[in-house]
Amino acid sequence: MSLFGRLGEHALKHDWIEYAAGVSIVGGALVVIILITYLKKWGWLWREWFTSVDHKKIGIMYIVFSAIQLAKGLIDGLMMRAQQATASGDCMGYLGAEHFQQIFTAHGVTMIFFVGMGVVFGIINLVLPLQIGARDVAFPLLNSISFWLFAAGGLYIFISLVIGVFAGTGWTAYPPLAGLKYNPGVGVDYWLWSIQISGAGSLLSGINFLVTILKMRCPGMKLMRMPVFVWATLATVVLVIFAFPILTGTIGMLSTDRLLDTKIFTADYGGNPMMYINLIWAWGHPEVYILVLPAFGIFSEVVPVFSHKKLFGYTSMVWAIAVITFLSFIVWLHHFFTMGAGANVNAFFGIMTMVIAIPTGVKVFNWLFTMYRGKVTFTTPMLWFMGFIFIFVTGGMTGVMMAIPGIDFQVHNSLFLIAHFHSVIIGGVLFGFFSGYSYWFPKFTGFRLNEKLGKYAFWFWFVGFIVAFFPLYLLGFMGATRRMNHYPAGNGWQPLFIVASIGAFLILIGVLFQAAQLYKSIKERNQNKDTTGDPWNGRALEWSTASPPPFYNFAHLPEVHSRDAFWELKKSKKDIVKRKYEDIHMPKNSMVGVNIGILSCVMGFALVWHIFWLAAITFIGILIALIARLFVKETDYYVKAEEVEQIETRSRAT
């Protein structure tokens, strides 16, 4: 075994398209690095952002990271569409089969783990502590460690484009295909360590937010007074805590199969690939709800505010979330009715799956009846909600269809399935995030996003989505499966694939409008300033503090007497009694998080390439970083009352 394991020159050999991708990634990174150096911003970045334990800054870092990943995942999607629009009959398309397979695998991993999870934890980080009237999360340093583990995992998506290859197995990497026998190379290992490391971060985040919700609520905020977004987050983190250990264990076993040849999931020597498929979905199905429940929470905040009306059926909403949380753990088998479990088992899991449609439907009705007898203003966040209703409801309907095993046999792994889950993930998770993004943007920046460009972005996304994905339902019925890099000409699929790529292109225009919106909004920030801290006439506590909130969030911890705490306070028209400012207890910044992130990233890389001495050193390094932290005594400090007073008067003055 050489010093660098399996790493050698051959790792850099690619075809020209991969070179182009690699060059643009390395080039892009270099440009950013040179720019930061030129502007002399490294110190500022390190002190103010990388080592920060402030939940607001960590949230923003999550979202910036996810935005980069979204751009990358979108390019993957466009490349796939371009391939499938052309690769019919004699034309083999511009991508080789193995390259195409890497692209769809990376697309799935990017979108689920680093866009979906990223925006979910980003929004939770930003909003949750403010909504429960807390000054930070329960464990601020752990929060920073979580983020850096998440970011470390996400980097492999880019590293594998330059050094080596990524997995070509599909994002769930079923063995035996993902085992040593059929995939001895580094691709699956990149996949493994990418998910293993970021998954550890997600689990830690889950624990952190659970404790935050249970222990850090401000006085008077009983459970049934919490905003529904907080309820949704509570359910999400419970799911994270129960589901992610399954993922860690499962891919841990797959990695021993690959590193030590343990034969747990091989077809021979008594291994059992079907066990892997069960386990990965025992995590994978709750994962879907981990992504979509926060989106439900966001809509439960957005719809009442823009309908100028209380949320309809609060108790129903909470119960619906609880039922979904419970049921999401007993439906995993619907991902493989076709594995042959037998009629009784299939029927049970099918019925459990369709039962989930009931609480989900209840939520939809409650949102709609929040609009009933309201005064609905169609701002960008509300448009995303309307788009969500149309796409998510059709996606839900096709989901229930696939929950019936007899139908699933005919559409499983076909493009019908692809259309379904993009409907619920784009229509649900992403539209939910975009709604929340335009809704909470002024809170964290102090200025509003440009409405006009936001609306253009919405319409391109919405129409683009329909054009890109509705033809896939029909293609599924025509017998087209997912993950084909080529298909025969005689089936007549090509026109629909071409239509779908036009749709993908429209979505790209939508994303460009979002970029333009951000640029224009920053440029014109002085015209769109939010000086009140409450630009939308909001209802929950986050609107009761300044925009952007001071780093300690609230000068005085709020006291709550009802739901919609801030709304009721405004209605009561009581002047806030001027209280004396007090010293505020805050955590100090720490570089432990970013150090552990860097060490983990190197460790994973070393394990991918079998450089075991480096893996051992970095692992010991992580342990040392953690132990050393135990000896740091001054982890916190007090903001003096006078300083608080200064900051508060300054923010009032502007």
Binding site: Q101, L177, M354, I358, I407, F409
Partner: protein, 288 residues
């Protein structure tokens, strides 16, 4: 004026898209919706019944979304009730109606899961034809144990006769799917699954693997032909007389990865070939 123009344009667009869709569907073969098999016909019925049932909820939701959005938009001056947040009867309605629909669907699901279970043999008085299908890298091998023949990427069987497919893989997992006849079941190494199909009429159908299995996955397509009984017998005789033999040695060559494999026919096969393929994966079975 401008608004009316907008509405007209959008309506025309929607009509155009609808017309194009109808034209496309009527001029193309949509296997799942134009089934030719006993099982696939039932599966299509199920698609239609369940869709109709769900539309009972879905249509009101979509209509309400438009109506409420229109009627209660700011500035229209409709009734405003900012504190109206609860109504028992309404909430019972939208917990209750979906519950009833799901109960109906659940009963349907339970019945059809048994009826359409791929493992359930089809009985129509005719003796079934047994075909063993093996997913290889990246082609399908079909073994006819009773006829003593085998084929690659081509399978023929008589119409109106139950076909008992027994399926395994000597490769990563694949999924066996002939959309026009019904589907679908995984093909896994070291495991057997089965699917029972019946073609209602003669015809040529496309079958394929529906689960990613590596580089040559997209080419794992086979032709499935349902012919009348006499043609089937003639075909079997033709294959038998073609002379090539699928011995274990030839099989080990066939297992080697290949893409877009041509159709091949074997007139003679090694005894118990299918069982031998399976036994390789058993702890004591690696001898051969």
């Amino acid at each position: 004026m401008k608004r009316a123009f907008k509405i007209i344009i959008i309506t025309l667009l929607i009509i155009a898209v609808g017309a194009l869709t109808v034209y496309f569907v009527s001029t193309h073969n949509i296997p799942v919706l134009e089934p030719k098999g006993l099982i696939s016909v039932k599966e299509r019925e199920l698609i239609i019944t369940s869709s109709l049932l769900m539309l009972i909820v879905v249509i009101p939701v979509l209509v309400l979304a438009v109506v409420f959005g229109w009627k209660y938009r700011e500035g229209r001056g409709s009734k405003h009730a900012p504190d109206w947040e609860h109504n028992n009867i309404a909430e019972c309605c939208w917990w209750g109606v979906p519950v009833v629909i799901i109960i109906i669907l659940a009963v349907i699901t339970w019945k059809t899961s048994h009826d359409l279970n791929p493992f359930k043999p089809i009985q129509n008085g005719t003796t079934p034809v047994k075909i063993q299908a093996v997913a290889l890298d990246w082609k399908w091998l079909f073994i006819y144990p009773d006829q003593g023949i085998a084929t690659v990427n081509y399978v023929q069987f008589p119409e109106k006769t139950p076909i008992d497919f027994v399926i395994t893989a000597d490769a990563p997992m694949n999924s066996f799917w002939i959309p026009q006849l019904g589907g679908q079941i995984y093909a896994m190494p070291a495991m057997t699954t089965s699917i029972h199909l019946l073609a209602n009429e003669t015809g040529e159908f496309e079958g394929r693997s529906a689960n990613i299995s590596g580089k040559g996955f997209a080419g794992m397509i086979f032709k499935a032909v349902a012919s009348n009984k006499q043609d089937f017998q003639n075909w079997v005789q033709y294959v038998k007389s073609s002379g090539k033999e699928l011995s274990w040695d030839i099989y080990t060559q066939l297992v080697e990865p290949s893409e877009y494999n041509d159709v091949e026919i074997y007139g003679k096969i090694e005894d118990q070939l299918f069982d031998q393929i399976l036994i390789q994966y058993m702890p004591e079975g690696n001898k051969k």
